[in-house]
Structure formats: C-alpha cells, structure tokens
Amino acid sequence: MHSFGYRANALLTFAVTILAFICAIASFSDNFSNQTPSAQIQILNINWFQKQPHGNDEVSLTLNITADLQSLFTWNTKQVFAFVAAEYETSKNALNQVSLWDAIIPEKEHAKFWIQISNKYRFIDQGHNLRGKDFNLTLHWHVMPKTGKMFADKIVMSGYRLPNTYR
C-alpha cells in the first residue's frame, strides 16, 4: 500500500472479485423463486397436409397458444425464450422434435399472452410417417438471466393427432 498505483490496483482487483461474488449470489437467489407457469395450445385448423416432391411429409397448422409465464421472471431475468415443438415417435427415430413457433419475451408484462397464428417454422418430417400420427405439443422455455445459470423447463400437452390421409 506504499504508492498510489499499488493502492489503486489492489482496490480494483478486490472490487472485481467482490463483483463476481455479488453476481454469483444474485444467480443463486433464482433457486428460491416460486415458478408456476401455465399454457394451453389448441389446433384450430389443419391448413394442408401433403407429401413434398422429395418424399417428406409436410403439414401446416393454425395454432392458438395461450400462456402465462409471468411467474418465471425474477429480478435476475433478462428475457425468457419460449418455443413450441411437436414431438412424436417414428420407426426411424425414437423422438422427433420439430420447432413450430418461438418468441423472446423481454418483460414480465408481455409474458401473459394469447396468440393465434399458423406455424412460424415448417413442420416437415424425415420421411412420410405423419399420416394418423399421434403427437405432443410441448411448450419449452429458457429463462435467461442477467448473470449466472440459465433455467429451462417445459409443459407437455398430449392428445393431438394428424389425419389419416393427405389433404
């Protein structure tokens, strides 16, 4: 501590170390938040269901997505990334996940929403397995923090089925 430069350096390094501790504590506090998200997805209409020229099935859906993700936001949340995936099994793959829609929710106020859209991303199968297929629609979310650990979870909604013939 004998010179200005020495003291300034000591202060700077100690301050940054304490800053790292502060951020770790902020991230750790996220474990104590009570999260009760809810969601519902309705398939309003199957717009079309065809086999592409290359042999893969493709289906276009109109979805009605209702969700309340407000309880996921903590003081340490920067944004929540949510996406809807169709999940089903085929003889070739034990699990197929096709992302149909996603959104970035930057604030708590925007986290309770109702949206009716056709799928943002194309629902294309690897093959032609979709006729009469039972599938789940899962709403996944990633809670992205300002500092620290990211939490991810999902709600699985089952009971959806595609028609037996192409339309």
Binding site: R7, A8, A10, L11, F14, A26, W75
Partner: protein
C-alpha cells in the same frame, strides 16, 4: 504514507468494499431491482476509492523517524566480513 497508514488503508479498503457488496445485494434483492444493486455497489466502489487511494494526511500521523546524518556517521553500518573460500580439487 507511513506504515500505520498503510495498514489502516488496507483494512478500510477491504471493509468498505465488502460492506458495499453486502448492502448492494440486500437492497437489490428486497427491491427486486438488479439495477439498484449495481448502482449501490458502483457508488460504494467510488466512495472507497476516494477514501483509500489518495494520500490523505490522516494516513501520515505516525511518520518514520529517520536518523540525522551526523548521528548516522557516529554509528556506521556494520561491514560483512566474507571468509575466503577453500578451493577443492578433484583427484
């Protein structure tokens, strides 16, 4: 800065920074505002800088007493006598 001052500065610096950190986390968590936490901590760091980095007079209250030059001549520095090294030759 004298020795006592340096010791005080080190202790003050550590205590002030830790307290800034603790207060920042507590206030930020209770007000659910990350921004508040960062602002309080930044304020604490600036305050600590102003208190500990410049050479304030209250860190120089116990200055070292150097000997006068004439006093130093009466007590010369002891000379270190170097013993001559023995050289070993290999047979």
């Amino acid at each position: 800065m004298d020795w006592q001052g340096q010791k005080r500065v080190e202790q003050l610096m550590q205590i002030l920074l830790v307290i800034s950190g603790v207060v920042a986390v507590v206030v930020g968590y209770t007000t659910e505002s990350f921004r508040t936490m960062m602002l309080i901590y930044a304020g604490g760091v600036v305050l600590t800088t102003l208190v500990t980095v410049p050479n304030w007079p209250f860190y120089n209250l116990h200055p070292l007493k150097w000997l006068d030059p004439s006093e130093a001549e009466k007590h010369p520095k002891p000379q270190v006598v170097v013993a001559p090294k023995k050289k070993f030759s290999k047979k």
